[in-house]
């Protein structure tokens, strides 16, 4: 047991993660070869060319519409779609990512506000606690993501188009983690602290602002981290129906229609980068808030 050793960034973080990532990339290249080779062999046989194995490997890495694009193909597609074209162009992934990001953020904002309101209601109104909380949990066993396209179509029928419908789907997905996390957070003060507020003759309102809200802040940031990721998924799926012409989701759908696998992978990675940035941003905001509020470093 080497528990007492101080964990080092290099040996406990970077090195193991690096090795796993390297293994994944190697596995990716291997998969590229094995998944693309059958088609390539077929093609070569039809054209009557015979190639050596190493040439075959090269060919599988250079296909136009590969079953599995090689990492460098995806990387170059990403490079071209972000830095190779102006940001405002429809071929720029930055433009599409921005479209998705804007509806993600709007939906995330709605969802967070809604979730906090629900949590405040549940902690203060017993009838709401008993009747509503079970349904909030049930609401998430409904695969609402799956009916997102329908909601878009319905809202389009009543002339609500653009950002709002997509944002509403993000709202539905993101309010739940916030509501559940905040109920937990607002109830996290111990009975002793609540009794202390009581002995100060604090009103419900004062106890709420001076005790419950500060106590719930760590829960708040943990839950909005989940919520922002869910918002992004909601926005992407919201773009799947044919109505959407811009956004990561529409790029995915277009790529799947025309079998542009490289484009699909590039869009997927762009979406992942956006997700990571959002989560990192929330994480930093949480840390800064904790420090400002004087939390002990853990």
């Amino acid at each position: 047991m080497n528990k007492l050793r101080e964990p080092s960034l290099l040996f406990d973080r970077i090195f193991p993660v690096g090795v796993i990532v390297a293994l994944l990339v190697i596995g990716w290249y291997a998969a590229t070869f094995f998944l693309n080779a059958p088609y390539q062999r077929d093609l070569n046989a039809r054209q009557g060319v015979s190639v050596t194995t190493s040439e075959l490997v090269g060919q599988t890495m250079r296909q136009q519409k590969p079953t599995m694009p090689a990492p460098h193909q995806v990387a170059s597609a990403l490079w071209k779609a972000t830095l190779g074209v102006p940001v405002t162009s429809k071929r720029s992934l930055v433009y599409h990512a921005w479209v998705t990001l804007s509806s993600t953020l709007l939906g995330f904002l709605f969802g967070t506000v809604l979730g906090v309101l629900i949590a405040v209601g549940i902690t203060h109104i017993p009838a709401l606690d008993r009747s509503f909380l079970p349904w909030i949990i049930t609401s998430q066993t409904i695969p609402m993501l799956a009916v997102a396209p329908m909601i878009i179509v319905i809202l389009a029928a009543v002339n609500i188009t653009g950002l709002i419908p997509k944002a509403l789907i993000s709202t539905y997905l993101s309010f739940f983690p916030v509501a559940v996390g905040m109920v937990k957070g607002l109830r996290s003060p111990e009975a002793m602290h609540l009794d202390l507020m009581h002995s100060y003759d604090a009103s419900t309102w004062q106890a709420f602002w001076k005790l419950r809200v500060p106590a719930s802040v760590p829960f708040f940031f943990t839950s909005i981290k989940v919520a922002v990721a869910a918002s992004l998924v909601g926005a992407i799926v919201g773009e799947l129906p044919t109505g959407a012409v811009a956004g990561i989701g529409s790029k995915l759908l277009a790529g799947s229609y025309y079998s542009q696998t490289i484009d699909i992978w590039a869009a997927l990675i762009a979406g992942s980068v956006v997700a990571m940035l959002l989560v990192a941003l929330v994480d930093v905001a949480g840390r800064v808030t904790a420090r400002v509020m004087g939390a002990r470093p853990t």
């Binding site: 599995m68 409904i142 993501l145 799947s256």
Partner: protein
Amino acid sequence: MRFRLNWHTVVALGLMLLSLFNLPFTATSGTALPLLILWFLVLAALGALAVPPRPALVASFGLLGHAAVLLLLRSLKGAEGTATLGFYAALAASWLLGWRLVTVLSGDGKRGSEGPGTFVSLLIPALFGFWILVLWEAIARGAGIPFVLLPPPSAIGHRIMGSLPILAADFHQTVLKAVLFGFVAGSLAGFVVALLADRYRFLAKGLLPIGNMVSALPIIGIAPIMVIWFGFDWPSKAAVVIVMTFFPMLVNTLEGLRAAGSMERDLMRTYAANHWQSLFKLRLPAAMPFVFNALKINSTLAMIGAIVAEFFGTPIVGMGFRISTEVGRMNLDMVWAEIALAAVVGSLFYGVLTLIERTITFWHPSYRR
């Protein structure tokens, strides 16, 4: 018996008065039926004002209020879209009485009293669900909302009854093939990899940050790729489900395996237990709450993954296929029927997992009475 005012009932009585001056309720209701409804509501309101709330009293005021609202829905028959102010006022009044009923049932804000019994604690959320359906039905039919926008629940129920074979076929294709297989394979793979990563710490150090990162990614986006690889039929959907369920299981199991206390672990060491003995006798049981947490998360993810993956190409059967094509044909009642099916399946899935969890982790503090 004495009476004490509460705001729900007072507002409800005001609304009843408003409703009385705005008769009739709908084009075909006449005045006799509305008066009967209002009479029921007034009786229910009197019951809601009486203290102390004895069970028989609460039951009778609840029954009267709900009888009134069912009659209210009946008055809409053949008169869709003609509801007047009186109708909505009566609806709001009966809704407030319903709220009052739930407040009384959940202890009326008294602290320290023990919680309601099993029946009441099931009844309260059931009433909430009932009211969502009632308000939906009353507003959708009362205001005459176009069918293509929001079909009333009764029409959806009718459609479910009328297309059971189609729903069964979709259920078979999506749930029994794609969801179940993907859920079991993905969760099992995540679990096994977590056990390996627990044995070889290096693997855990490398996998945990990646797993945490991946759980924030929009994995659902791999659906088109999987359809290209595995074809239109259910294997491609199962593949999406496997990838979606793998990481939550991995991350949660790894976290759970660290949940056993150091004291218990030291005890295992003093017994000279080897890695596998301490794993199976101490740490795996301690990890079970985390494993079930992952299984619950995965149950939802599996349904979502399979249905969304069907949007990218599918044989002509399946819940996702049905949703996307019926939206195109504006058959919204069929879409809602599929949603209802998905909701029921999702809730049952979740419920079954909860039941299994209770029998396996019966020792956990959260189940103690």
